[in-house]
């Protein structure tokens, strides 16, 4: 028996290192005990512990990846005692190490169930790491199956450089950023009172803009001298993810200073330029970002999704009522509402767009009451849905709102919608110009003809 499995063990050792120490040997033998052929057992072990590891950078991380390798510098590390679960075996780790790991592409929070013998500034290499989504952002997890080693010469930038929060344009801010700096114009600003841990606090929230885009911000400190139209330099602000969109969080450690005079003139934007309505983006470019705030897109409605039309909402929570019951509040007397979920496609990308009642009434051309009349006058329960499909499928629409990315693709919540009007004649002239002048046509035909002849010869 041993003779038979020895070559497999050898192969596993070559791929995964010391089998005894990591408990892989035990796992392998367990599979054999369940009568798994050694060949197959070896393959599943290799699959599980990842013989071939993808090497990723921080910016490549997304939720629910597993079995990859990453190298970064520890920016912060701390340990927490975890209360052992009742009935859990005693040898379960009861300490959790958390911190921040960074490379030249960004930084990411991590948590480790393994004891980490490293300190701030060390470069470490993690094999067989995985990721989870935690508080709407990606978190690097180091599990029992992961191996961690210190890298003496990592080639990574020194900690002084890597820990500096990068200065970015608003469009570039994403989930891979832990803290950022930026120069932007304050487009909206309002004060509100909130209760934080039983204490009344004043919060400023608003919208920042530069030539690349807009992002919401929240300030937990006073911002003296900052008002709508101010151009400010923000350093060491925290990035938070909310509904898949990044937002800039200004904390007590964040530096906010005005940018004026000569420096402001050199910027690629002014208050007036950022105040203009956003121009439509290609959907392909929207798909390249985690989430985007206040953007526009245009395309054809290629499908109206089921669930569009008249729905009934729970009066308590606003969730759609199905079969007379809310899935949280049980049997309720629903409030009628109308919504449209449509797929907008521009040929470069596709996104699912949600229209509220107000917008649905505009693009459908019927009010909720008119739609209700249709619903009651027709024996088909899908009368409104069918009518929506007939009116909307194929139509051109432009929308403005927020996008976020999930496992189904882009989900877009429309704040406004309209029929795009662009001058087709102008676009045709431009396209004809790009296609080249008429004089070359004959020549091209000739060449095409002669080449075709050669092809057949």
């Amino acid at each position: 028996m041993d003779e038979k499995i020895a070559p497999h063990l050898e192969e596993l050792t070559r791929a995964l290192g010391d089998l005894e120490k990591s408990g892989i040997r035990a796992e392998f033998e367990k599979l054999l005990a369940f009568r798994v052929p050694p060949e197959v057992a070896k393959e599943s072990i290799l699959r599980k512990f990842g013989g071939k590891q993808r090497v990723l950078k921080v910016k490549d991380l997304s939720a629910n990846l597993k079995g990859f390798e990453i190298t970064g510098r520890v920016l912060d590390i701390g340990e927490k005692a975890i209360r052992p679960q009742e009935g859990a075996p005693q040898d379960r780790p009861s300490r959790l190490y958390t911190g921040v790991l960074a490379d030249e592409t960004g930084s990411v929070m991590f948590s480790s169930w393994k004891v980490l013998h490293c300190s701030v500034g060390d470069a470490i290499n993690v094999r067989n790491a995985y990721t989870r989504l935690w508080q709407n952002r990606v978190k690097l997890s180091i599990g029992e199956q992961s191996t961690v080693s210190k890298v003496p010469d990592s080639g990574l930038p020194p900690i002084s450089e890597i820990s500096k929060s990068p200065t970015k344009k608003l469009l570039e801010v994403g989930a891979a950023d832990f803290s950022v700096g930026t120069i932007a114009c304050v487009l909206q600003l309002s004060h509100r009172e909130v209760m934080v841990r039983g204490k009344q606090s004043r919060v400023i929230s608003g919208v920042l803009a530069d030539e690349t885009g807009r992002l919401p911000f929240t300030a937990w400190t006073e911002l003296p001298g900052v008002d709508i139209g101010s151009i400010v330099r923000i350093e060491e602000a925290q990035v938070r993810m909310f509904r898949g969109m990044p937002s800039v969080n200004i904390l007590s450690g964040t530096k906010v200073s005005p940018v004026g005079g000569e420096e402001a003139k050199k910027l690629a934007f002014t208050f007036d330029s950022v105040r203009k309505d956003p121009s439509p983006l290609k959907i392909e470019d929207i798909a390249a970002r985690d989430g985007m705030f206040d953007i526009a897109a245009a395309g054809n409605v290629v499908s109206v999704r089921p669930g569009s039309g008249i729905i009934s909402r729970c009066p308590e929570c606003g969730r759609a009522v199905q079969k007379g019951s809310c899935r949280v509040h049980g049997k309720v007397e629903g409030i009628r509402d109308m919504r449209i979920k449509a797929v907008l496609d521009d040929g470069t990308g596709t996104m699912s767009v949600m229209f509220s009642r107000e917008l649905a009434e505009i693009i459908y051309g019927k009010t909720l009451e008119e739609a209700e009349e249709l619903m009651f006058s027709d024996i088909s329960k899908d009368a409104v849905y069918e009518d929506l499909r007939r009116i909307l499928t194929g139509r051109y629409l432009a929308v403005r709102g927020n996008s976020s990315l999930n496992e189904y693709g882009i989900s877009f919540v429309a704040e406004s919608a309209w029929v795009p009007e662009d001058d087709l004649a102008v676009r045709v002239v431009e396209l004809l110009h790009r296609l080249g002048s008429d004089e070359t046509d004959g020549q091209v035909r000739e060449i095409a003809g002669s080449e075709g002849g050669e092809g057949f010869a």
Partner: protein, 310 residues
């Protein structure tokens, strides 16, 4: 032992997640569409290939310009509609754009589209999404068609806009294609070059595949360029009046064909004589017949005989 599912969250494997995402409906003219071939990705691992055939990986096509796609969005004129199949359970339609025609099928597994085709009037402008299908009964004869998903009647404005949108995306492909052709690079080097020029990774890959495969890759691009140009010129936004007159003459020729009972076929020379005697210039008759032939509204069962599609 830690299990991956310990947090109770649904774990969706990456391959499955890619399937959950809706495929983009590409904008492509009939001319480019009908010249597409099946995309065979070079896979070193034969087992992997077999596995991917079994699973629901979409049937991908590649155009002579390197566009890789499965779903299309088409707006055009429906000029023919037939009920086919042993029990007439399948609809077959022709949808014409400025460069040619799409053949579209809808059967029992496309109920939405089938219901649409059962009521649509011919001719009318329609918008349609569907999946590209390829059928190769024998080597050398390839039929590319669209299996309809959803369709709707639209107006001419939407059709014109589609023509301009599609032209724009075709021109972008043509530019990337010519750029690749003149760069002299190949394979991975070419893909890297195109990515740097702002071409999407998908198109960069497609172009490099096409350039490896085709013996005269530039040939189709030249023909398509002319075709797109003529299609754009035919939109004729400014000259509304002359376009109107053209339409009138076309209608007249068509009416004359019906009058002469061309559903059974008429002699072409006799028809031209009849038209000229009614004051239509010979070149106009020829042009109208040519456009009727290209749009599929009539055909030549024998040389010298034209027959209207009824």
């Amino acid at each position: 032992m830690k299990r991956t599912g310990r947090y109770g969250k649904l774990q969706v494997p990456r391959e499955v997640r890619a399937l959950l995402k809706r495929e983009v409906a590409k904008r492509v003219f009939a001319r480019e569409f009908e010249a597409c071939r099946e995309l065979e990705k070079p896979s070193p691992d034969a087992a992997e290939k077999a596995a991917s055939k079994d699973s629901k990986t979409p049937n991908l096509l590649i155009s002579p310009l390197g566009l890789i796609f499965n779903r299309v969005f088409v707006v055009g004129v429906i000029t023919e509609l037939d009920s086919v199949g042993t029990q007439n359970e399948m609809w077959k339609a022709r949808i014409v754009d400025p460069t040619g025609a799409f053949t579209v099928y809808a059967g029992q597994y496309q109920p939405e589209a089938s219901i649409f085709f059962s009521t649509v009037e011919v001719p009318s402008f329609i918008a349609l999404t569907g999946k590209a299908r390829i059928y190769e009964p024998e080597p050398g004869s390839v039929f590319v068609s669209v299996r309809a998903e959803e369709a709707n009647v639209v107006d001419e404005e939407i059709r014109n806009r589609w023509v301009v949108d599609t032209a724009e995306q075709t021109v972008e492909r043509l530019e990337a294609f010519y750029d690749a052709l003149s760069s002299g690079y190949h394979g991975e080097e070419l893909q890297k070059y195109l990515l740097e020029r702002g071409v999407s990774s998908e198109l960069a890959e497609g172009i490099s595949i096409v350039l490896e495969r085709e013996r005269a890759p530039g040939e189709f691009a030249k023909l398509l360029r002319i075709s797109v140009k003529e299609g754009l010129k035919a939109l004729n936004f400014d000259a509304g009046d002359s376009a109107g007159a053209e339409v009138d003459q076309k209608e007249f020729v068509l009416e004359l064909l019906r009058e002469m009972n061309a559903f059974k076929g008429v002699d072409y020379a006799a028809f031209v004589d009849a038209a000229v005697s009614r004051g239509i210039p010979e070149e106009v008759v020829e042009e109208v017949v040519r456009s009727l032939l290209s749009s599929g509204q009539c055909y030549e069962p024998r040389i010298g005989i034209i027959r209207l599609v009824g």
